[in-house]
């Protein structure tokens, strides 16, 4: 601990010396917010720079920028894809506040506009392994059942895949599904899908843009090791009241946004509800009569520009899936998140965002006797995880070449793994799995340095985790790897007392060298620690797969990743290209013994194993942003493996989410102003699988058995699928704007294998068969009417 603190101090000192040396010439700062003229939405990633030079910056997540230049007159241009650029001459004789409003460009202007997005180009940014998508791009993708979906959109990017259609998690660069940090307006989201994985919980009407970071993590991000999916919601139009929505065959959406006080404050409320249960109702009789099957979510946000230097954002999300069966089984689950953020400009070079958040995931499962039953019985389980977090984050814009990011983060966790209530007539019996408590903290500092063709962002994050009382610590005896550990003893800890704690120093560095006007090379290294795991031993996580902190038995996962890439931006921005390679090692990934019991098990840690993982790959990406035909092609060649004592003969085996090849082709074409078309083709190597090569006859069963004892040594057939969509815009009236989206998912009706399993033939028990399950085995049409008022 002491040495890490010393290292940190040393780095700070070094940085300060560098800066004091630089602050010689008289310089002034121009700073401010960049917003959309019509909606007042703050604009993220806007380029601000001196045309023809590499001097410049981009707006941050809140639309703020700060650019320090030598005294004198400067021509400054503000530009962003899809917006009319603004060029102005600024006389810098003192520090200057310059808030800017950009107007959206007409379609014809696109080409002009885009050629000027200097600072945002991949060859000019420091980050490697970063993909950005804004909602306009996501809307061009063919949809699943007519719905624009954030999680489906990111799966078209290189390095991202899933275990199959309908899976409730995604995998980035060979990492497990629980290694992704999903942030919605800075609050973590634990369950990112509705309907067990078919739809994401993010309402597209309320999403502004997303960033997916797969490597070279800036020091401000931590707690998960594979990726950061940073989702930013709209602020709400502060100019005029507006209504957007859509009516589809699965669910409908409605969003209202508008000013509370024009230019000063605004709100957005967006809701969705699925209605398959309503449509099914006439067909549900008898047992199925009380079937409940729906989800809903509500996203709301208000923001206030308190004055020139202070703004406040309050965001909330509430979503729930409800499932009931014949009145006898009831289940529901969902996330709740709330975040309050305060942006404060201390001076024209020091910006702070203070986020406090609350996030909760909970589920409930209930069995009940029938209304008609004489003996009344019920059995109900509830479980939840709650976090309270606070994270002040500072950006210090020292000058046009140096920026400093630093901050502190703290999260308080409570886990209620399960409370069971059983009633039998008049008697009620309650069982409670003991709460778990934990505290996570981090401090970080990083420095962004631009020096001509060279740029580097380096920093360090010191993170710590305390698994603490009030709670019970379980101590297990060592045993043969792969076998349930025997409980040795337990010990009670009082509130606040440390049961186990861990600290890690996580160095991060990304560097860029611009080769010429069109190309750059970049490299990055990052170490990240993860203190939370989702306990899931099924192909796709279920809603009852709970999260658990690291404890005295479960160690934090530590991932080291190196990545290097070549980036090319064709002259005139005709297209951009990137090629990246990565290699990463994962220590203490979570694995499970055979036949592990993860449901409501007090002694769950006896079933957990620690494994070592490694992943490596090549990612190619070509993207075309301008013209009538736009889109991208991504290709990933990769491997993801792990080694777990006691599993697969303790040898390396391929992860279920490994894909040797993964190709995505996304094309959209605008035929006329009113008709456009989108296409998406996916190809992925088959999922690794474990097959039975023998059966055991036992008590009238035929038990499938794998005599090789090797895991995932076969692969299912390759996965491929084509989706198409056509968007037809009706007559665009002054206020009412409507469009029809017709989509076809799985156009050539391929039956892609999700799993292969083994069973006795239902009609002839003597016959044993291998069965391929395709979650989606046919062509799925979708139709949605979207409107804007």
């Amino acid at each position: 601990m002491k040495t890490t603190a010393n290292t940190l101090m040393l780095i700070c000192l070094l940085m300060l010396t560098t800066f004091s040396l630089m602050a010689q010439q008289q310089r002034y700062t121009v700073s401010g917010y960049v917003k959309d003229e019509h909606s007042g939405e703050s604009l993220i990633g806007i380029s601000i720079g001196k045309p023809g030079t590499s001097v410049g910056t981009v707006t941050n997540e809140y639309g703020f920028y700060s650019l320090t230049l030598p005294a004198g007159s400067h021509e400054i241009q503000y530009s962003y894809m899809g917006y009319k650029p603004i060029k102005m001459t600024i006389d810098l004789t003192s520090n200057k506040r310059q808030d800017i409003k950009l107007a959206q460009a007409d379609r014809q202007l696109n080409e002009v506009v885009i050629t000027s997005k200097q600072q945002e180009k991949n060859i000019n940014t420091l980050n490697t392994s970063l993909n950005k998508l804004d909602i306009a791009e996501m809307k061009k993708l063919p949809t699943f059942m007519g719905e624009v979906d954030v999680l489906r959109a990111i799966q078209t990017l290189p390095g991202v895949n899933t275990v199959g259609e309908g899976a409730a998690s995604f995998n980035v660069r060979g990492g497990a599904g629980d290694e992704n940090l999903i942030l919605m307006d800075e609050a973590p989201v634990y369950n990112s899908t509705h309907m067990l994985g078919f739809f994401s919980v993010f309402n597209p009407d309320a999403v502004k843009n997303i960033n997916l970071i797969k490597g070279g993590f800036p020091a401000e991000y931590g707690g998960r090791t594979a990726s950061v999916l940073d989702i930013r919601m709209k602020d709400g139009n502060n100019q005029k009241l507006g209504l957007t929505g859509g009516i589809g065959n699965i669910f409908s959406r409605l969003a209202v946004e508008g000013p509370i006080q024009k230019d000063k404050s605004s709100f957005i409320i967006a809701g969705r509800r699925s209605y398959m249960d309503v449509m099914m109702k006439p067909f549900m009789k008898g047992d199925m009569k009380d079937t409940k099957l729906y989800f809903y979510d509500l996203t709301a946000k208000v923001n206030f520009n308190l004055n020139k230097n202070n703004s406040l954002f309050v965001s909330g999300y509430f979503g729930r899936d409800v499932f009931g069966f014949g009145g006898q089984v009831n289940m529901n689950w969902g996330n709740t998140t709330t975040s309050v953020r305060w942006n404060h400009i201390f001076n024209n070079r020091l910006f702070m965002n203070l986020t406090t958040y609350y996030t909760k995931y909970d589920y409930s499962l209930e069995f009940k006797s029938k209304e008609t039953d004489v003996a009344k019985q019920s059995y109900k389980w509830t479980s939840n995880i709650i976090n309270y977090g606070i994270k002040p984050a500072f950006t210090y814009y020292i000058n046009s070449n140096n920026t400093l990011h630093f901050g502190v983060q703290s999260v308080l966790y409570t886990f209620k793994p399960g409370k069971g209530t059983a009633t039998d007539g008049e008697t009620t019996n309650e069982t409670v799995l003991k709460d778990k408590n934990a505290l996570e903290g981090a401090v970080y500092l990083d420095h962004e340095l631009k020096a001509g063709k060279f740029g580097v962002q380096y920093g360090v994050r010191l993170s710590g985790f305390q698994f603490r009382g009030k709670g019970t610590a379980y101590y297990y005896a060592d045993t043969t790897a792969g076998i349930r550990k025997r409980l040795d003893h337990t010990q009670e800890f009082a509130a606040g007392k440390t049961i186990a704690d861990y600290y890690f120093l996580e160095p991060r560095i990304s560097a860029k060298y611009k080769l010429n006007a069109t190309s750059a090379v970049k490299a990055a290294y990052s170490r990240s620690a993860q203190y939370m795991h989702q306990l899931s031993n099924t192909a796709s996580p279920t809603p009852v797969d709970i999260w658990t902190p690291v404890t005295n038995n479960v160690k934090p996962q530590l991932t080291d990743q190196v990545t290097a890439g070549y980036f090319y931006n064709a002259p005139g921005d005709k297209f951009e290209l990137s090629a990246e390679v990565f290699y990463k090692t994962m220590k203490d990934q979570l694995d499970f013994i055979d036949n592990s019991d993860l449901d409501l098990n007090e002694f769950i840690e006896a079933d957990l194993l620690a494994s070592t993982g490694r992943a490596y790959g090549l990612e190619l990406y070509v993207k075309k942003d301008i013209g009538n035909t736009t889109g991208w092609v991504s290709y990933t060649l990769s491997r993801s493996e792990r080694k777990t004592p006691g599993i697969s003969q303790s040898e390396w085996f391929i992860n279920r989410y490994d894909r040797t090849h993964n190709v995505n082709v996304v094309v959209s074409h605008e035929f006329t102003k009113r008709i456009s078309m989108g296409a998406n083709w996916v190809f992925a190597s088959g999922t690794p699988a474990t097959f039975a090569d023998a059966r055991l006859e036992f008590q009238d069963w035929d038990i499938p058995y794998n005599t090789t004892e090797k895991r995932n040594n076969y692969r299912l057939k390759p996965f491929h699928r084509l989706d198409l969509s056509v968007t037809w815009k009706g007559k665009q009236l002054k206020r009412w704007k409507g469009e029809w989206v017709f989509s076809l998912y799985n156009v050539y009706a391929r039956r892609n294998a999700y799993t292969v399993y083994f069973r006795q033939n239902e009609d002839d028990p003597n016959k044993k068969e291998a069965v391929r399950l395709s979650i989606i085995g046919s062509i799925i049409p979708g139709i949605t009417y979207n409107f804007k008022f």
Binding site: G166, A167, L196, F198, M276, M279, M280, K285, G286, D287, L293, Q328, V329, M331, L365, K368, Q377, G420, D424, N429, T431, N537, T538, S540, T542, V544, D594, D599, L600, T690, F691, D693, A694, R695, L696, E697, F698, Q699, D700, I703, P704, Y705, N706, T707, R711, R751, Y754, T755, Y757, R759, K768, A770, V771, R772, L773, S774, I775, G777, S778, I780
Partner: protein, 290 residues
């Protein structure tokens, strides 16, 4: 619990208008190694008790697995130190203590010893207590009133977990005769988990498990239910078997081999047998659908 979620998954896919589909496929994989498989389950039922020892066969091989006939099988009641030799005839090893006598006695521990070629294997299990099945009830459902769209009689059993301690049970049901198995379910006390309830009536998914929803009982058929006690380790084994037998769906698990409690007495030997030795006290109940 995972099964409940799987029902949900099926409903979601069906309701959303897309049907997940299953196709029987040919897998071109090499035949696995051959192991001896011991199927030994001793109960306190009176009369003859049998043990099967077969060879494992390729998964899709048709026909019964070949029996191993040259083993020496001896069961010992460790509690009152009696031994019962099992002899091979008609594909099974059996011992008949006489029509009204039973080998299995409540709360007694048993050791199974198998000599196979030069190797000796042993396993131990205990007969735990089991409650009575109070009754079987049934309800007629028309095609459209049934969740599975199958017309017929849907039966459930009524019983109450024994008070005190955690009890583990195996519910198996049959149609007309004990040769005709319908379904299996496993319970801890009256539900799925320890320390949730005690002395409760078996909860709904378990009590209704005696009907095959795809093939409900019909008029004049006999519903037979067997409730068997289990040790915790036998319960763990059987639920593992269950998860391997019904391992499809969105939440499929990786195929994880079932473990065996029948160990080679020579720890340094590489030779293994598969299967399980379990013991149970059993109670039966039957009812004819009228």
């Amino acid at each position: 619990m995972k099964r409940i979620i799987n029902i949900f998954a099926i409903l979601v896919t069906a309701a959303a208008g897309f049907t997940s589909c299953e196709d029987v496929i040919d897998l071109d994989i090499p035949n696995g190694k051959t192991f001896a498989v011991v199927d030994a389950w001793i109960t306190n039922e009176a009369g003859k008790q049998s043990i099967r020892i077969t060879e494992s066969v390729p998964y899709t091989a048709t026909g019964a697995a070949p029996a191993i006939s040259d083993a020496v099988v001896v069961l010992t009641d460790l509690t009152d130190n009696k031994t019962y030799p099992f002899t091979f005839a008609n594909g099974v090893y059996s011992h008949d203590p006489g029509l009204d006598k039973s080998i299995g006695v409540l709360n007694h521990a048993y050791k199974l010893r198998i000599e196979l070629k030069t190797e000796v294997f042993e396993a131990i299990d205990t007969i735990k207590r089991v409650p009575e099945i109070d009754s079987i009830s049934y309800e007629f459902k028309t095609e459209e009133n049934s969740a599975s769209n199958e017309e017929g009689y849907y039966a459930r059993f009524w019983g109450r977990d024994l008070a005190g301690a955690s009890d583990y049970y195996w519910v198996r049901s049959y149609r007309n005769t004990k040769e005709n198995r319908v379904g299996d379910a496993f319970a801890v006390d009256g539900s799925y988990q320890e320390y949730v309830s005690d002395s409760a009536i078996f909860i709904v998914p378990i009590s209704e498990s005696i009907t095959d929803w795809d093939k409900p009982f019909q008029l004049n058929e006999t519903v037979i239910v067997r409730l068997a006690s289990l040790t915790k380790s036998s319960h763990t084994f059987l639920t593992h078997v269950e998860s391997q037998l019904n391992n499809g769906g969105l939440f499929a698990k990786i195929l994880e081999n079932v473990k065996s409690n029948i160990k080679n007495t020579n720890a340094s030997s590489e030779t293994r047998v598969l299967g399980w030795f379990g013991t149970s006290a059993v109670k039966f109940k039957e009812r004819v659908i009228r």
